[in-house]
């Protein structure tokens, strides 16, 4: 089947009942403009199938891929999937947004969206690694959040000229070096600290592992999410080959996006015979003392019940929003929608009066609007130390 046929096969199952729209986080965040809601995207897809002269990019690219729509659709239609296929069609036709093209080209060239792999490896200075067949793979995800925050401010500064900026960088890729020192230092310190927490947690549990340092590539999340399927196939091959050349057998991921991509998406595009695990699978869990408002990353909800982890460890007291989206996926192309979603989700969590816990760097970066928000690794580490100190006494 062609991508266009895939598109209509998914959209064609829809009777337009509108259930999806009621849980779609982008609809209210976009001022209730239907094109930027789940049902509107399906409508656009049906229209696009008959008339490809329209430009559906804002509709498809504004979807945050949280799949909340799928959870309520009685017909099993996945409006998120419709957007995903739509983006692939547009990328192939060269109709992706200019910033998307820029990010993909930079990633293909530098194996990192902003060409900052060295900087992304600095958190590990002074840490001793071993056992290269088990790889701790950060995918630069935590580290890049410090850049994205600054990048967002830069985009606001350039305003309507952002397309010209992206075009300029595409023509002069080496100009990306301007980003090297353009990061939010406080955010970088936090993110590096969380990675160090994860290392400590793994070591406390007797796990031995290696780390690729500045050779570590970004996993290609943007390339896939922005619809550049051909480029993603090449990129996945590169990453897979790199891991193979380093003798890697098992990969420990530390964030939901990388976990999902490596475990479920990579094998569809390249030979990828590695065991992929999430670090929390390796560290053992016990009941955490205290109460927290735990935000579930949507990319975890797709493949397994993250609330099962949460339920084992936390006394959760949150009125759960079915979308669970932090707004992060829209930060690059639709910062206003992203901000509106994250504001709403933060307020939902915040009104519990409990400390807020995230388990994804993107969620953290979007929800950390005050000091009440922390990464799950901090809680796990602190509680582990409390338990171990209690057992000594």
């Amino acid at each position: 089947m062609t991508k266009l046929q895939d598109l209509i096969a998914e959209a064609g199952k829809c009777v337009n009942c509108g259930f999806c729209e009621s849980v779609c986080p982008t609809l209210p965040a976009a001022g209730f403009l239907s094109t930027k809601g789940a049902r509107g995207r399906v409508d656009i897809a049906k229209f696009f199938y008959k008339d490809d002269s329209i430009d559906p990019s804002a509709s498809f690219y504004s979807c945050v891929d949280c799949y909340a729509c799928l959870t309520v659709c009685p017909a099993g239609v996945n409006a998120g999937k419709v957007s995903e296929i739509g983006r692939m069609i547009l990328a192939k036709q060269g109709k992706a947004p200019e910033i998307a093209k820029m990010i993909v080209e930079l990633t293909m060239r530098y194996k990192n969206p902003l060409g900052v792999r060295e900087k992304c490896a600095q958190w590990a200075r002074g840490i001793e690694f071993d056992a290269p067949e088990t790889l701790l793979y950060t995918g630069n995800m935590y580290q890049l959040m410090a850049y994205l925050r600054k990048f967002g401010k830069l985009r606001k500064f350039f305003g309507q000229y952002e397309v010209q900026l992206a075009s300029f960088i595409r023509k002069h890729p080496s100009s990306v070096s301007i980003f090297r020192d353009l990061y939010d230092k406080a955010m970088m310190d936090k993110m590096n600290g969380y990675l160090i927490n994860i290392v400590k947690l793994l070591k406390q549990n007797g796990i031995k592992f290696g780390y690729l340092g500045s050779e570590e590539p970004y996993p290609g999340t943007f390339i896939y999410d922005l619809g550049f399927e051909d480029e993603f196939r090449d990129y996945a091959r590169y990453v897979s080959e790199l891991f193979r050349s380093k003798g890697v057998k098992r990969i420990i991921t530390v964030d939901p996006h990388t976990y999902e991509l490596l475990k479920y998406i990579y094998p569809r595009y390249t030979e990828f015979n590695f065991e992929v695990v999430y670090y929390m699978d390796l560290i053992g869990t016990h009941k955490i003392s205290g109460k927290y408002a735990v935000h579930t990353p949507c990319h975890f909800s797709r493949y397994f019940d993250f609330s099962e982890y949460v339920g084992r460890m936390f006394d959760v007291n949150v009125e759960e929003n079915p979308t669970r989206c932090c707004g992060g996926p829209d930060e690059l192309l639709f910062p206003e929608i992203s901000e509106n979603i994250s504001e709403k989700r933060f307020n939902e969590l915040s009104k519990t009066g409990l400390p807020i816990v995230t388990a994804c760097p993107i969620c953290y970066a979007n929800l950390a609007k005050d000091d009440s928000v922390t990464d799950i690794s901090s809680i796990l580490l602190a509680d582990g130390e409390r338990v171990s100190s209690a057992s000594v006494h």
């Binding site: 829809c14 337009n16 009942c17 259930f19 049902r39 329209i54």
Partner: protein
């Protein structure tokens, strides 16, 4: 377009004119596709609505008001050139008074959001259309929506105390208020309910609410024939009014296999809720089950919240989930909606089954047995004129069965564009054409330029 030029400084970015952004507003949940609007307007306040209507009236621009877009008869799509006014930004719950048993809401509040809000106060707003996840306060008033709880609580008209309405020329009027009683000449609130956006734009609603039953027990019963199911519900209603009383045929059950598994020999199932206090619900459940067991192949019940919700959501999603059973790509669902006196339901349903077979139609039959409301989810190939002819014939057959049994061609979905002809047929059958003329006269008084939902209900 002068109209747009004048409205843009008032609504700013909430005036939508880009072609790609207009496309979704050509559809609602029906199988009709409307005209592409010249613009979509998203007012955020009553004042915005007044401005829009004042300017639309000045330039004779037709306006279709759209809520959650869950209309099943095409009542929220444009039938002529004009603009669509989406009410989704006006989605605030403005006031709750438990003493008055009244909640005040803007038209864009979705019914499930209202339910979640009221739940915190152990209250609920009883009208419960299956589309409540998407449907809005304004839209459900405009179609006099019914729903699953109709057997116990009636329909929307029984729960609206008052309305704030913007008329076609932009004038703001108030019909009714928060009081439970009112004897003030003509009931203008009632006139607005079911008017499908043809008389005015609802900008605020005062809704009656009710304490939530302390406990619910959900009961499923499976029958060989609709007669058995009909006899069971008739006997139950002699003693107990269930909170909900739904029926589903075998095709309907086949579309929700994860939620409801049925025993061999089943042709129809009943879904009933018993409600009451902690102490009484168990007894009511047992009383209902005792009667059901006389007629059913099997009965089962649950008070587990997760299980009850799974069954309830499966029933509410039937309109969409039935599409999983389509035999070829391109098949769509056309939904029928008629009502007969409760006692007539089994015989009417048997006639519908015969008509379905004679017309060569594949359709699932289900609905609200407690209030005589029958739905048919009809598989239809919209691109095949012969298929659509058969569908239209079957819709007409259903309609005539309903009027012959003393019922009506539309129970809770309204007229829209789908049932304009059926409305005339019902009036003609009952020698009641004068009523139709009165309705047209009312429309002329409210909207002399015919700009509100032009072409809806009648031409």
């Amino acid at each position: 377009m002068e109209f747009i030029d004048e409205i843009r400084p008032i609504l700013g970015k909430y005036v939508i004119t880009k072609k790609e952004d207009l496309i979704p507003y050509m559809n609602d949940a029906s199988y009709f596709t409307g005209e592409m609007p010249q613009a979509v307007l998203l007012p955020g306040s009553t004042q915005d609505v007044q401005n829009i209507m004042r300017i639309a009236y000045k330039y004779d621009v037709p306006v279709v008001v759209k809520g959650g877009g869950s209309s099943l008869t095409g009542s929220s799509i444009l039938k002529t050139e004009g603009v669509v006014m989406s009410m989704l930004r006006m989605n605030h719950i403005l006031d709750l008074n438990l003493n008055d048993k009244c909640v005040t809401a803007e038209p864009g509040v979705r019914l499930d959001d209202l339910e979640r809000f009221l739940e915190k106060y152990d209250h609920f707003y009883p009208p419960d259309p299956a589309s409540s996840r998407a449907a809005t306060v304004g839209g459900s008033i405009s179609t006099n929506a019914g729903g699953l709880r109709g057997v116990a609580y009636g329909v929307t008209k029984d729960w609206v105390l008052g309305l704030e309405v913007v008329l076609a020329d932009g004038t703001l009027v108030k019909f009714g208020n928060k009081t439970l009683k009112r004897s003030l000449g003509y009931d203008m609130t009632a006139l607005m309910i079911g008017s499908e956006g043809t008389l005015g734009v609802i900008t605020k609603a005062y809704l009656k609410i009710w304490p939530k039953p302390e406990r619910i027990a959900r009961i499923l019963a499976f029958f060989r024939t609709i007669d058995d199911a009909g006899r069971a519900i008739a006997e139950i209603k002699e003693h107990i009014i269930p909170e909900m009383a739904e029926f589903m045929d075998k095709i309907s059950l086949d579309s929700v296999p994860d939620a409801i598994k049925y025993p061999q020999g089943t042709n129809y199932a009943l879904l009933l809720d018993a409600s009451g206090s902690k102490e009484t619900v168990q007894r009511r459940k047992e009383d209902i089950e005792t009667i059901l067991k006389k007629y059913a192949i099997e009965t089962r019940s649950t008070m587990d919240e997760t299980e009850m919700n799974r069954i309830y959501q499966a029933r509410k999603g039937l309109y969409a989930s039935i599409l999983k059973l389509r035999e070829k790509e391109g098949e769509y669902i056309v939904i029928g909606d008629i009502v007969v006196p409760v006692s007539e339901l089994p015989s009417a349903l048997k006639e519908i089954e015969i008509a379905r077979d004679q017309d060569g139609i594949r359709a699932a039959l289900f609905g609200h047995i407690g209030d005589g409301n029958i739905h048919a989810n009809i598989f239809a190939d919209l691109s095949d004129s012969q298929s659509m002819e058969r569908v239209n014939k079957f819709m007409m057959d259903m309609a005539m069965i309903s009027v012959r049994h003393g019922g009506s061609v539309s129970a809770e979905h309204g007229i829209g564009i789908e049932k304009k002809k059926l409305l005339v047929e019902e009036m003609r059958f009952n020698d009641n054409m004068r009523t139709l003329e009165l309705m047209k006269s009312v429309k002329k008084i409210f909207d002399p330029k015919n700009i509100l939902n032009r072409g809806n209900i009648f031409d």
